[in-house]
């Protein structure tokens, strides 16, 4: 055999872990240097997001929210990686990555407006982020561009992008990695492998045993991490960021995670494609339970703090919802006005036409 086997590559992508499901440190040397307050803040964000997820699902059922992609199960993958970002870093999320947007500075009300399909949901003020991407992996090529732009501007900042396991089958995923690698651009690509691209399991998505190894073909670093372990996710992302800033190139991070809920609120029924046993198995690895145990063991988290966070989340959601309700409905003329910097004749005529229609 002239061709060599894949195993030697795959064996280099072992899952990185710091906390086991019981919240015990299994990799002492790798524990990050986070202050007590930082650890608590990360926990607060995860608890907050779990409550928000529950509320969002119920608001959707009541018809008070529109399109929503559930996040429960992926809190460590999303928020511990985002925890490694600086305010001036750029975020290019997928439609599931609304929590990262909010903790990057987008007000909660905008998340609700986005869900309702209001154009103000994507109107960010002073936040370095693009709007949630719908076209799977399109954000990967854009991330290469943002990262190259940051490099050309001489900024010490990084472009972070998020996408799922299915996205790694797209050409744009590979093109993004390859462009960023070629230009040695400061980018971090985070593939949240939640096992299913809607219904298709990752085993049917690719023959690759890990998604992290896809970095090899682009000549960039790749790492697989336990996506239910907040400390491990934080550490690999922080390191990827530091490498990017130091001019050592982009990194692909694969987080092994799971979404407990449906793909989105648009009628997906997960019982059609995955077993309760599998879901139960992943629920045993829950990032909140794991991190809570870890923090409780260090006397950093109490029932009171948990409850205060839950209350805070509920209050914020209520206030944001009220604000969303008070936002004037979007008009077609609003859309026409922002198609171009200057309206061409056809849109000018259509603006007049719709102004009349909307004033009726």
């Amino acid at each position: 055999m002239v061709t060599k086997k894949l195993e030697p590559i795959e064996s280099r992508f072992e899952t990185f872990q710091i906390l086991n499901p019981e919240g015990e440190v299994v990799n002492k040397d790798a524990v990050p240097d986070l202050s007590d307050e930082q650890l608590k803040e990360l926990m607060r964000r995860m608890v907050y997001t779990r409550i928000w997820d529950q509320r969002a699902l119920s608001l959707n059922r009541q018809g008070r929210l529109g399109f929503y992609a559930p996040t429960a199960g992926q809190e460590a993958s999303m928020l511990a990686s985002h925890f490694a970002m600086e305010k001036e870093d750029w975020l290019l999320p997928s439609y599931r990555d609304i929590p990262q947007l909010v903790f990057h500075g987008v007000p909660l009300v905008k998340a609700f407006l986005y869900s309702r399909g209001h154009f103000k949901g994507g109107q960010y003020e002073g936040v370095n982020a693009l709007m949630p991407q719908i076209i799977i992996a399109a954000q990967c090529t854009q991330t290469a561009g943002v990262a190259l732009g940051l490099k050309k501007r001489g900024k010490k900042n990084v472009a972070f992008t998020y996408f799922g396991d299915g996205a790694t089958s797209q050409g744009d995923f590979y093109e993004g990695l390859n462009f960023a690698g070629t230009y040695n651009a400061p980018a971090v690509f985070i593939s949240q492998n939640n096992r299913f691209a809607i219904s298709v399991p990752v085993e049917k998505q690719t023959a690759a045993k890990t998604l992290a190894q896809k970095a090899v073909a682009a000549g960039i670093r790749g790492v697989q991490v336990d996506g239910m372990d907040p400390l491990a996710v934080y550490v690999v992302t922080k390191e990827a960021r530091e490498r990017a800033i130091a001019g050592e190139g982009p990194t692909l991070i694969e987080t092994l995670t799971y979404r407990y809920g449906p793909h989105t609120t648009a009628g997906d029924d997960p019982t059609r494609y995955r077993s309760d046993e599998l879901t139960n198995e992943w629920e045993q690895k829950d990032p909140l339970i794991r991190f809570r145990k870890y923090l409780e063991g260090r006397n950093l988290w109490s029932k009171e703090e948990e409850e205060a966070t839950v209350e805070q989340a509920k209050e914020d959601i209520k206030a944001a919802l009220k604000e969303a309700d008070q936002t004037p409905k979007q008009k077609v003329t609003d859309l026409i006005k922002i198609m171009f910097e200057k309206l061409p004749y056809n849109l000018q005529e259509q603006f007049d036409e719709y102004s009349k229609k909307e004033s009726k």
């Binding site: 750029w90 154009f119 103000k120 949901g121 994507g122 109107q123 960010y124 003020e125 693009l130 709007m131 076209i135 399109a138 990967c140 090529t141 854009q142 991330t143 290469a144 561009g145 943002v146 990262a147 190259l148 732009g149 940051l150 050309k152 501007r153 472009a159 050409g171 744009d172 093109e175 993004g176 390859n178 462009f179 070629t182 859309l335 006005k337 922002i338 198609m339 171009f340 910097e341 061409p344 004749y345 056809n346």
Partner: protein, 325 residues
């Protein structure tokens, strides 16, 4: 004033804008050291450095995504799609991403991207290089489509495209690159996007066209003049948005029109022009508007090209049919 080919005028426009605005970046496949497969970017990397003028990996979708990302950092990307027949690879990045950026961001972001690309038949390229795909972008809200027919317009329109704050698709007909020279002023000037040009005045019929068909139509008009038919020839220059005012005022004068395009017939630019005439000037017409186009097939292999493409005689015949209606 210098005599230049269209490709020299295009290079000159990029040079001027690279010099004028440090945010302008020129990139694409082979545009760096090689100066582009048609030499449109010849010498630009030497003059402005690899930071401003650079090669990309061979992936059109990646080029489009890169352009949008760079635009987010305040750059003014001038990206090249090596042949417009390859644009399908970049359709998502143009039609779904750049064209929607303003709306998706509630007007906060915009993509001042110029997408340059050679297109058009008659130069015997391999298949999938020469297609006239401009019609696709008339159905793509959020982009402008510019097609120059001569060196002067090419330079002025390209400078306008680069300065435009919205995505502009700038299509360069391959047959026009070096087929003739024209007077091109030194230094900067602009030709307004969205404005047609009356390249020949006439009173009997309006020939409305763009790109390489402008030359074809002008030749037809000369022969028609020998037979006493005075054709007005309108070079659209921008096909999205159309300059309906120029079209309508010409028809009010001539009462007859023929639209000439190199692309296939169905749902093309000519169909759109005719619909606009229908909306705005139908009662000024003495005859149905004629249409000269290629047939509704895929673009042929090069042996069939010369028959497939509309020619001077097609234009003459259609004009006569319209006059004699």
């Amino acid at each position: 004033m210098a005599q230049m080919t269209m490709i020299q005028a295009i290079t000159d426009a990029m040079r001027i804008e690279l010099k004028r605005d440090e945010n302008v970046l020129v990139f694409g496949e082979d545009v760096g050291k090689n100066g582009g497969v048609f030499r449109a970017t010849e010498g630009l990397q030497d003059e402005f450095g690899e930071d401003r003028v650079f090669d990309t990996p061979l992936a059109e979708s990646g080029i489009g995504g890169l352009a949008l990302g760079l635009a987010m950092q305040g750059f003014r990307p001038v990206m090249e799609i090596q042949f417009f027949g390859f644009v399908f690879e970049a359709m998502d990045s143009i039609a779904s991403q750049m064209a929607r950026l303003r709306y998706r961001s509630g007007g906060k972001y915009h993509a001042p991207v110029t997408i340059r690309s050679p297109f058009g038949g008659g130069v015997h390229t391999p298949e999938l290089h020469a297609d006239s795909l401009e019609g696709l972008f008339l159905q793509t809200p959020g982009v402008k489509v510019v097609i120059p027919s001569n060196p002067y317009d090419a330079k002025g329109l390209l400078i306008s495209a680069i300065r435009d704050n919205d995505p502009v698709i700038f299509l360069e007909h391959m047959k026009l690159y070096r087929s003739f020279r024209g007077e091109v002023p030194e230094g900067e000037y602009t030709v307004e996007i969205g404005k047609a040009n009356i390249v020949r005045e006439g009173s009997d019929v309006s020939i409305i066209t763009y790109g390489a068909m402008v030359q074809t139509s002008l030749k037809a008009a000369e022969k028609l003049a020998e037979e006493g038919i005075q054709a007005e020839v309108i070079d659209l220059r921008t096909i999205s948005p159309l300059d309906v005012e120029t079209i309508v005022s010409s028809i009010k004068k001539t009462n007859r029109a023929v639209v000439v395009q190199e692309a296939q017939k169905q749902a093309g630019i000519a169909a759109h022009v005719i619909a606009e005439i229908n909306d705005r000037a139908i009662l000024h017409l003495e005859a149905p508007v004629g249409r000269v186009t290629a047939p509704d097939t895929v673009f042929p292999f090069s042996e069939a090209e010369s028959v497939w493409l509309p020619n001077e005689n097609d234009v003459i015949e259609k004009v006569k049919a319209t006059i004699n209606f």
